[in-house]
């Protein structure tokens, strides 16, 4: 124990502070981006737990699972179109991911006007998605779907549906607010004064993640 560097000689809490505050950086990216990525990893675990729980109850139930293709079908012009609303929601979300990617791109060009416009377009598409989800929830609740029962089969269907799509819808809603706040900051010239638009990319990471989660929900809950 003879050879300590100077940090080890500090009292324990000072040592912790010295270690955490030391001038070293693991990832050469803006700190906001590293933190957003780490948050998204934790969010990945949460959504995977939901989807795994859904898988578990769907495997273990003795009743037949309601057919999502019919449950989420829409009656249009006298014919039943399977899964129509969900397909439209999927396309809306992918469109919003595209406009978001463009917003980040124009941000790095320091094109303030186009960045604001694209951020607002992304937020509008997100709001449209949430609106359609509210319509879907209303329709299913009117048809008698509850977290503990539904007219078509395994009662676990309702709880899995409301938990998974509800949690995702909250993410989209939060994202819309986040994007509008970011758009306002861009419009105010804040990032021009700061000299970098990298914060727009951080917001973009969150938004693309919301789209990413929908890819998995679409595959496992609606198509399976």
């Amino acid at each position: 124990m003879a050879h300590h560097d100077h940090a080890a000689a500090l009292p324990p809490l000072k040592q912790v502070a010295a270690d955490y505050a030391a001038d070293k950086q693991a990832f050469p990216v803006p700190w906001g981006k590293a933190m957003m990525w780490i948050f998204l990893v934790s969010d990945t675990f949460i959504f995977t737990c939901f989807l795994t729980g859904y898988m578990n109850v769907r495997i273990s139930t003795m009743d037949s699972w309601p057919n999502p293709s019919q449950v989420f079908g829409l009656h249009l012009f006298g014919t039943e179109v399977p899964l129509l609303l969900i397909a439209i929601m999927t396309f809306v979300l992918i469109t919003s991911s595209g406009t978001m990617a463009l917003a980040v791109n124009y941000g790095y060009r320091k094109d303030r006007r186009n960045t604001v416009l694209l951020l607002c377009a992304t937020a509008a598409l997100g709001a449209m998605f949430v609106g359609m989800q509210a319509f879907e929830w209303t329709k299913l609740i009117m048809e008698g779907v509850r977290p503990w029962e539904n007219p078509w089969g395994a009662p676990q269907f309702g709880s899995a549906f409301f938990m998974i799509t509800g949690f995702h819808g909250c993410h989209v809603t939060g994202g819309v607010i986040y994007l509008l706040v970011t758009a306002r900051r861009v419009a105010s010239g804040f990032y021009d004064r700061k000299g970098t638009y990298e914060t727009v990319e951080v917001a973009g990471l969150y938004w693309h993640f919301v789209d990413l989660v929908w890819v998995f929900i679409f595959a496992f809950f609606y198509l399976w």
Partner: protein
């Protein structure tokens, strides 16, 4: 995909066409996965197609839209490796679900 010179650290500036192509590809892949349901593909083929289209879409979003393809290897490891342990959870829960199903069958259907 990444012939472009390594951009300055933390700076993700790529040609617009890259995004537009990926955007189009995501649309096409989504249309394909919807078609799996629309044309009532069933059984093993259905599950395979769903998973393939899902992984392709997820990969494109993470690699291009979220710029992971251009990040340094240390960040890729930090972000992409920990979620792999979720595969253990999924495996265990699948086994557990089968066990519960069989137990229920043995207990209730007699």
């Amino acid at each position: 995909m990444t012939q472009t010179a390594q951009p300055a650290e933390g700076h993700q500036q790529h040609p617009l066409t890259v995004y537009l192509w990926i955007w189009l590809l995501l649309f096409v892949l989504s249309a394909f996965s919807y078609m799996v349901d629309y044309f009532h593909v069933q059984g093993m083929l259905r599950w395979t197609l769903i998973i393939v289209f899902m992984l392709l879409k997820a990969g494109l979003i993470v690699a291009i839209f979220m710029h992971m393809a251009w990040e340094r290897l240390a960040l890729k490891f930090t972000i992409l490796l920990p979620p792999l342990c979720l595969l253990v959870l999924i495996g265990f829960m699948a086994i557990e679900g089968d066990y519960t199903f069989l137990t229920r069958g043995a207990a209730f259907v007699r």
